[in-house]
Amino acid sequence: MKARQLIWSLPLVAFAAVVVAQSGARAQSKPVSVPDITGSWERHGAGPGARAGGPRDATIPPPAPPPQLKPQYAKQWQDRIMAGRAADAKGEPLATNYTDCLPDGMPTMMGAMFPMEILQSRGQVTIIEEAFTQVRRILMDTPQKSFEDVEPGFYGHSVGRWDGDTLVVDTIGIKENVRFQNMPHSPQMRIKERMKLVSPNVLWNEITIEDPVVFEKPHTYTVAYRRMPGYTLLEYICEDNREYADDKGRQKIRIN
């Protein structure tokens, strides 16, 4: 019985040996190190006064340039901004996605209003934004699909690769109602990201939004994150939102 088991197991042992040898050969052929960006991060250098006074912090990225929208879309966007301001001034703010407990989606979630977790695993980088428990999966070393093959959603379809020390990510398939700073976009919007450690504990994400229908030229801006050692993301469930949109699209509060 034992001899029979041994005979059966021989091919398996041989196969395993080949696999180990091959994987060892692959690992030894061109091993490269990629930065370890796994962990919790929070927005770095955002908000009023972040760059005011004191010596300039080189880890804080420059402010975003204004986006260049095509005239008809620029008008639509400006009108939305002005309507929002007028509504705020009246104390009757316009309802937003948050009023409906809806998440930011891409690329807004990369603004990291709440802490964010990055997880590096085999073939995938996963980014979790604490607010609304938003999750995006970046499939590594995988070809991007065509626009037609991606069902639009909040986070889209993301593929990535390491370009030296930079994580390069390409995302398509964002629903048209998922908007960045209320800007309109078409189904052809593509979001390109370049994530790179600029210091051991500060990660920059250079985000470029391309949309040949809406933008005159791609819109590029950079956000920075700093490590949060020891911080574990908290759960976030939009459980009981007393805010609601009235019939005029204004944000109201339900009085209990």
Partner: protein
């Protein structure tokens, strides 16, 4: 450092883009909250003394429900909207800090509509401890001495 198998990569250098302070950045600076607080009065605050009927520990925002005795002997109920419980936890708030029956004092920015709702800026708890709420851009709310 993590070791990975090298893949073919096209080298592309992208300059980190510089820029001028823009309308967008001003918007981004003021948009550091999930929900607009424009419904609340930024020109005055009310100080509310009352008894807690419920401490609702939920997202997107927590709420503190308080019964406030009025000079004529009646009771007025106030709902005090707080911030996200995630933000509150990061500055030390816990769900067991307040319970029904506790006597609390809260400084709130009242709802502009006049309804008995306020945005909580700070709460003094039954044990006398005062704890602030992590309200974004809290300096935009002018403190006054009106009480309820």
């Amino acid at each position: 450092m993590i070791v990975a198998t090298e893949v073919t990569m096209s080298s592309r250098r992208t300059a980190w883009v510089g820029g001028v302070l823009s309308l967008l950045m001003l918007m981004a600076a003021t948009a550091a909250a999930h929900h607009s607080f424009a419904v609340f009065d930024h020109t005055r605050t009310l100080t509310i003394h009352g008894t807690v009927t419920r401490f609702q520990w939920t997202n997107p925002h927590a709420f503190l429900e308080v019964d406030v005795p009025q000079p004529d002997g009646s009771m007025k109920h106030y709902s005090i909207e707080l911030t996200s419980i995630n933000m509150m936890q990061r500055v030390g708030w816990r769900s067991n800090m307040i319970k029904a029956g506790d006597k609390v004092t809260a400084v709130v920015a009242p709802l502009l509509s006049g309804e008995p709702v306020g945005l909580g800026l700070e709460v003094t708890m039954a044990d006398g401890t005062t704890k602030a709420l992590p309200v974004p851009n809290v300096g935009s709310f002018k403190r006054t001495t009106e009480t309820q």
